[in-house]
């Protein structure tokens, strides 16, 4: 049933993506999970619908929608497959958004059309082996030499960084030491194919098997000085503001997964008979599902709230962190409970809940751990 908080257009988009997720994404999700392959054919279908350009204006090849529209699409995709949803989330929020927010007109013209059409993907290189939650601990360096940045260092766990259609990575790097001894961090666009830049073999991950994740190495990588993205020295701050928005999208993804666990559990609790009646007739199971539905509903309300604040140009930092914290934990709990409701079958990879269970845990870690969300919320409270 349509949600009354959505406009007609938002509801049309939501139901269109829901159809696509059910008809195109879900049937191949199990296979890509098992084979750990990137679903190029699914991504192509998403590109045709314009999903990669959803929150960007038409002048850059976008769809002229907003961030809320993107979140609705991500939620519906995640009901079928988290890997596909994170591919869209990272493509839009981490790949294209920094260029749209901080790029020069020339940089926008050069990159956004391809990123919005989905023919190319961009990646976001912030995390390093020694700089995770403390992303300011960047060790990668970039030095100006003869009108070019010379970049050295490495990045860890970078989404969408090694697909056949990945065309660029924006990386944070230390570009100087300030007078007060603090690092000056800037972000720089590195096109794929630049000598010295390479993506290592994909990680062997617990979940998100169909999402593309690699370590990256920069060895004397030279790019033009004009590839600096945004103001010099603002790289870290800019990337953090990108993550503020991204959290709402991750929250939408978590809600999709949490909802999928509810849907699968209802179907299974009705169909599975033990002791002569459906397991759902036991209050122990029915209450579990009631709690799962409650968590999902509250989590969705939280991300709708954060997304509406953002769309209205109001402060949303705290609400985004709250939505991310609550919904990722709701997703993990729902996935665990859904697996429990499925019994031994829930531990078998052929049941989607097993995949949801493996896919859920990262939601409490990526784009800021739950602990980091609490730090952000506490800081907003003046603590």
């Amino acid at each position: 049933m349509p949600d009354t908080r959505l406009t007609d257009e938002q509801e049309s988009l939501r139901s269109t993506v829901a159809d696509f997720a059910r008809e195109v994404v879900a049937p191949v999700a199990g296979r890509h999970d098992e084979d750990q392959t990137f679903p190029y054919e699914v991504v192509e279908g998403m590109a045709k619908m314009g999903l990669f350009g959803l929150p960007f204006p038409e002048e850059y090849g976008g769809m002229g929608g907003d961030f809320f529209a993107l979140c609705l699409a991500i939620e519906e995709l995640a009901r079928a497959d988290s890997s596909v949803a994170i591919t869209l989330e990272a493509g839009c929020c981490l790949g294209a958004m920094p260029i749209y927010r901080f790029g020069t007109e020339a940089q926008k013209q050069e990159w956004l059309h391809r990123l919005c059409s989905g023919e190319a993907l961009g990646a976001f290189g912030l995390t390093e082996p020694d700089a995770g939650s403390d992303a300011g601990g960047t060790r990668t360096t970039a030095v100006l030499d003869g009108g070019e940045w010379v970049i050295n260092g490495s990045k860890s766990f970078i989404t969408n960084s090694g697909t056949d259609i990945t065309k660029l990575v924006t990386a944070t790097a230390v570009t100087a030491t300030r007078d007060d001894g603090q690092k000056e961090i800037s972000s720089i666009i590195v096109p794929v194919g630049t000598p010295g830049f390479s993506a290592g073999p994909p990680y062997s991950k617990v979940g998100w098997h169909a999402s593309d994740t690699h370590p990256l190495t920069f060895a004397d990588v030279r790019v033009p000085e004009a590839n600096l993205l945004g103001t010099r020295g603002r790289g870290y701050a800019n990337f953090l503001s990108i993550l503020d928005e991204g959290r709402i999208a991750i929250s939408a993804l978590a809600v999709g997964l949490a909802q999928a666990c509810v849907d699968e559990s209802i179907t299974y609790a009705r169909a599975r008979t033990q002791f002569g009646r459906p397991i759902g007739a036991n209050q122990a199971i029915a209450f579990k599902i009631a709690e799962m539905e409650t968590r999902t509903h509250v989590a969705r309300t939280a991300y709708y709230d954060a997304a509406s604040r953002m769309a209205a140009g109001r402060p949303f930092k705290k609400e985004a962190a709250i939505a991310k914290l609550f919904s990722s934990e709701a997703a993990v709990t729902n996935a665990r409970e859904a697996t429990q409701i499925h019994g031994g079958y829930g531990f078998m990879n052929e049941f989607p809940v097993a995949r949801h269970w493996r896919d859920s845990k990262i939601l409490e870690i990526g784009e800021g751990t739950s602990e980091v969300q609490k730090l952000l919320i506490a800081r907003q409270l003046g603590l």
Binding site: D8, E9, T16, G45, M49, G64
Partner: protein
């Protein structure tokens, strides 16, 4: 090419379908309503013909106010404009009356080509294409799995789906073509399409505006009448045959009692 494509809003294909207890018409209130799935193939085919030859695609539907959702979907896929025939007096119309009303509307659009689905998933009458062709006085090509139009020659040729292959059938334009699901893969609307749909021309007609008399349509004067209806009997629990060496014989016995072999 001026192409008209008919669409219908139906109860969700997967929903349990019911009749309204008061007048035994389709209950549309208790279920989600969607575009008849096969109509998506008709809309897609119309769009492809337009993309190849230029022209305009007009969506025509008859149905309650809510059916505008289905029109929106067709417009967001890329159709150019729509006519929505809606009136309380139309409620309960049977296929004959519906075809009369739709033909009246379609005739005013002077189409080169009318595309229909082979059937709608609610009543599954499968007669609308034929009824429309008859009323419009146009040739009809049914069960098309491929459509090729030649606007210069003024012809349309189809591959007509048959049991063991297909037949090539040709007609002069204008014509009515009924399509099957094999014909194409309907596109998903893009967000741009969804936003554009709102601004596309939509004409809403009541019975009078369409040039119809209220006495010609609706439940009271329908040519067919539903006297009674029984819900589908609940599914029986299956019989499990344990194979103790004679499993094959037992299954054959079971099939024979069901008169299946």
């Amino acid at each position: 090419m001026n192409i008209v494509v008919t669409v219908k809003q139906v109860p969700d294909t997967w929903a349990e379908k019911k009749l309204d207890a008061s007048d035994r018409t389709t209950d549309r209130k208790s279920v989600d309503n969607v575009m008849n799935e096969m109509d998506e193939y008709g809309v897609e085919e119309a769009l492809r013909i337009k993309e190849a030859h230029g022209g305009e695609v007009t969506v025509v539907t008859m149905g309650p106010q809510k059916a505008v959702e289905t029109i929106r979907k067709a417009l967001s896929m890329g159709a150019d404009k729509a006519v929505h025939l809606t009136d309380d007096a139309l409620h309960g119309s049977d296929a004959l009356q519906t075809s009369k009303a739709l033909a009246k509307v379609i005739a005013t659009l002077s189409p080169d080509l009318v595309i229909t689905a082979t059937e709608a998933s609610d009543a599954r009458g499968g007669v609308m294409g034929a009824l429309l062709a008859e009323r419009l006085g146009l040739p009809q090509l049914t069960l098309a799995r491929k459509v090729t139009v030649d606007p210069a020659a003024g012809t349309v040729q189809i591959e007509r789906q048959a049991d063991n292959g297909y037949a090539l059938v040709e007609a002069s334009l204008p014509a009515v073509v009924g399509v099957v699901e094999k014909i194409n893969e309907p596109r998903y609307p893009s967000f741009k399409g969804i936003m554009a749909a709102k601004k596309k021309p939509l004409t809403t007609l009541g019975v009078g505006e369409a040039g119809l008399d209220a006495s010609e349509v609706g439940l009271a004067s329908a040519g067919s009448k539903v006297d009674d209806a029984e819900p589908r009997p609940p599914r029986q629990s299956g019989t499990i045959v344990k194979d103790e060496g004679d499993g094959g014989a037992k299954i054959a016995e079971f099939l024979a009692t069901q008169k299946l072999i």
